[in-house]
């Protein structure tokens, strides 16, 4: 089984440590993982802004780069969900003919495909508040969305519970949007920032030292609020916790 590591543009440029942790974590689990060079972006930013047709060249590049991999795994729920849900339309293909059928968000992949029973290396003696990102949650099913009457589950919490010394909490509005939304954050700056401020405060009210989640974009947004207001909480991508001590 050959796994291609998909590193979204902003992770590549701003959060490379998330990519490194993803790689190390997958390797530690015995996964044969490779990073195909020449990746830029999946095309989500323009599509969410209303320019899906501009995503097509990027989608074709992604298809080409990952053509020979059995699985494609990326540390960003939103980007993975975009590839999964929109590539068939953009590329005029059936889902089984394109990346959509082979791409996984990394926690989903580890939880559902690799299925480790323990993460012996992982230790993180801190209190974390889990950020349930909208697309990971409502489009990929990383956890049960609060709106639905289905049995409660959380793949993120399942994985975090294998980490030694960690204390896991969630905010009171457990899956309310942080207000990032790609271009929404600059087209609706007042609402977006207000949502971000509210979300960070909700995480803070748990007493957590860290906000953690499976999507760097939401964490980036909340980090922007935290740094501006010099708030006593930090953000960390979930794979950085799962890959601790590797």
């Amino acid at each position: 089984m050959k796994v291609g590591l998909f590193i979204p543009c902003f992770v590549n440029a701003i959060y490379p440590q998330v990519g490194v942790a993803s790689y190390k974590l997958l390797r530690s689990l015995g996964v044969d993982v490779d990073y195909p060079l020449g990746q830029t972006c999946c095309g989500q930013p323009m599509a969410n802004g209303g320019f899906e047709k501009d995503s097509a060249p990027l989608a074709r590049n992604m298809e080409k780069l990952f053509h020979d991999y059995d699985y494609v795994v990326g540390p960003s729920g939103s980007c993975v969900a975009f590839v999964k849900d929109h590539y068939p339309d953009i590329l005029h293909k059936e889902a089984h003919e394109c990346l959509s059928s082979r791409i996984y968000e990394i926690c989903e992949f580890i939880h559902d495909v690799v299925k480790p029973s323990e993460l012996p290396h992982a230790s993180f003696p801190h209190k974390v508040s889990v950020h349930n990102s909208c697309h990971g949650l409502r489009l990929l099913g990383l956890a049960s969305p609060s709106e639905l009457n289905i049995p409660h589950f959380s793949k993120l919490k399942d994985l975090l519970s294998m980490v030694d010394g960690i204390e896991i909490t969630e905010p009171s509005r457990v899956d309310e949007c942080c207000g990032f939304g790609g271009m929404f954050s600059v087209e609706e700056p007042a609402v977006s920032a207000c949502m971000g401020q509210d979300k960070v405060r909700d995480h803070m009210s748990t007493g957590a030292e860290y906000i953690t989640g499976a999507d760097s974009s939401c964490l980036m947004h909340m980090e922007g609020v935290i740094k501006r207001e010099k708030l006593p909480i930090k953000t960390i991508h979930i794979v950085e916790i799962l890959a601790s001590n590797l």
Binding site: P16, C41, E187, A190
Partner: protein, 472 residues
């Protein structure tokens, strides 16, 4: 900036009020969640509701004609109106024939949609809203800001001041019970002296020719009990096949809307009582055009429960008036675009694509996905935001090839280093108004990969496998 973005900024400038509005609606969402969780078959009900609506709107002529036949046999006068004007004329003509001067209305979004009250008032007919929230808004000379909770944005102190001015209540008394009693007395007088009553229609049951009106205040019943004339108005998508279908919708409606088991009053109108006349006006006003639109026809499933507004993080923080269409929130963004894209495209930005609306919708309308679709249509319609278009052009270049991508990151790094803070956080930086910008790191992941990781990847993967507890 879009029209919504500008209006939202003004609303949010009063942060304590924004927080209060947000919390008031979140409370309704929580009540809805409790109700949804109290019914084990909730998700199956939503599925049944969605399918039954889909069946009905794709067999609309069949069910509407069945409804007309049965309603007519019950003694109800059935009228058809192709648009808002024809609807208003039909209602006015019935009222004129009966010499009506005072009409008492229960809440109807269709009347809002058609601009009925101003139309009648211009022609000398007083149309009094009998729903308390609607009456508050009517006395304030403002439209409702929410389709189920019309005055949700008004604080009780403001209602106190309004009633003092309009109804002569005590100065400074904003006790809800006191104000409700005052409103009741005021409305009772209106009920007693009305010449005609108007109601909306929540459900028109084709198999029986009866229609159902759901209220919490009993105002529809009170209104229709005295006058000799009752006019009900309905959008043509309000027809449902039979009482089995009604059972599904009735279980979902109030639970989704306000977190109640059922509305306090659910009134079935089947035939006029002796000496009374009952009319029903079935209105198209663009609905059959929506039916012909395969991407957006799901909108015709809507029950008007308002749950998509209550859950919407943008609506809760920007208020109903920040949307240019008379219906706000995810529902209004979509219906506005269907009504007139040129006029209402300024609302399409009001969505972070969190998709919570699609999950709460009792008839499973893909509201968020449809907003995404509208965004894709804006450029073709010539309505795309030029600034956003510019940003996308830059992104296309920067992300178009790996060489350009890494060049831009280098340039960004340099720009970050040499630009004074004042330039980085100038007025054009919408992000930077309330948030710090993320910073580029010294090396990209691709660099780290090439310099450190790639050598480990090419090593024998068996080594890694031995060290792991899992084997795949």
């Amino acid at each position: 900036m879009s029209s919504h973005s500008k209006a939202a900024e003004k609303f949010i400038a009063d942060r304590p009020r924004t927080d209060w509005h947000n919390q008031a609606l979140w409370f309704v969402r929580q009540k809805r969640d409790n109700m949804a969780r109290s019914i084990p078959e909730w998700e199956a009900l939503r599925e049944a509701a969605a399918r039954t609506k889909m069946h009905t709107i794709t067999h609309l002529a069949y069910y509407l004609e069945m409804f007309e036949r049965n309603a007519t046999a019950n003694g109800i006068h059935v009228h058809w109106a192709k648009d808002a004007l024809e609807h208003n004329e039909t209602v006015y003509n019935i009222l004129k024939e009966h010499g009506v001067k005072h009409l008492v209305k229960s809440k109807s979004m269709l009347a809002e949609e058609c601009g009925l009250s101003p139309y009648l008032e211009e022609r000398g007919i007083e149309a009094v809203e009998s729903d308390l929230g609607e009456r508050i808004m009517q006395l304030m000379h403002q439209p409702p800001s929410h389709i189920v909770l019309p005055a949700i944005h008004v604080k009780r102190q403001e209602v106190g001041e309004l009633f003092e001015r309009e109804l002569g209540t005590e100065h400074g008394n904003s006790d809800p019970t006191y104000l409700t009693h005052a409103a009741r007395e005021h409305l009772r007088d209106k009920f007693l002296h009305a010449d005609a009553a108007m109601t909306g229609v929540n459900f028109a049951v084709a198999s029986s020719g009866a229609f159902v009106v759901c209220t919490n205040e009993g105002n529809a019943d009170m209104g229709t009990s005295f006058p000799k004339l009752h006019i009900a108005i309905m959008g043509l998508e309000k027809v449902i096949p039979d009482y089995d279908a009604l059972a599904i919708y009735h279980r979902l409606l109030a639970r989704s809307a306000t977190g109640q088991h059922s509305t306090t009053y659910t009134s079935h109108y089947k035939r006029p009582v002796e000496g009374q006349e009952m009319h029903i006006v079935i209105v198209d006003n663009g609905r059959s055009k929506i039916l012909g639109n395969p991407v957006h026809r799901n909108m015709l499933r809507c029950l008007r429960c308002g749950s998509c507004m209550n859950t919407c993080p943008v609506y809760r923080r920007s208020g109903g008036y920040s949307y240019s269409y008379f219906i706000p929130g995810p529902l209004g963004i979509n219906l506005g675009m269907l009504a007139d894209p040129k006029q209402y495209s300024g609302n399409v930005s009001a969505c972070s694509l969190c998709m919570s609306c699609s999950n709460v919708c009792p008839v499973k309308i893909d509201l968020g996905e449809q907003i995404y679709s509208w965004r894709q249509e804006l450029d073709t319609l010539g309505l795309a935001n030029p600034v956003k278009k510019g940003i996308v052009k830059v992104l296309n270049t920067a992300l178009g090839s790996p060489g350009m991508f890494h060049f831009c990151i280098k340039a960004g790094r340099l720009g970050e280093k040499i630009s004074p803070r004042g330039l980085l956080y100038c007025g054009a930086n919408a992000w930077g108004r309330s948030r710090e910008l993320p910073e580029f790191t010294a090396r990209t992941f691709e660099q780290i990969w090439k310099e450190e990781l790639s050598s480990t990847a090419s090593c024998n993967t068996e080594t890694a496998r031995k060290g792991s507890s899992t084997n795949i």
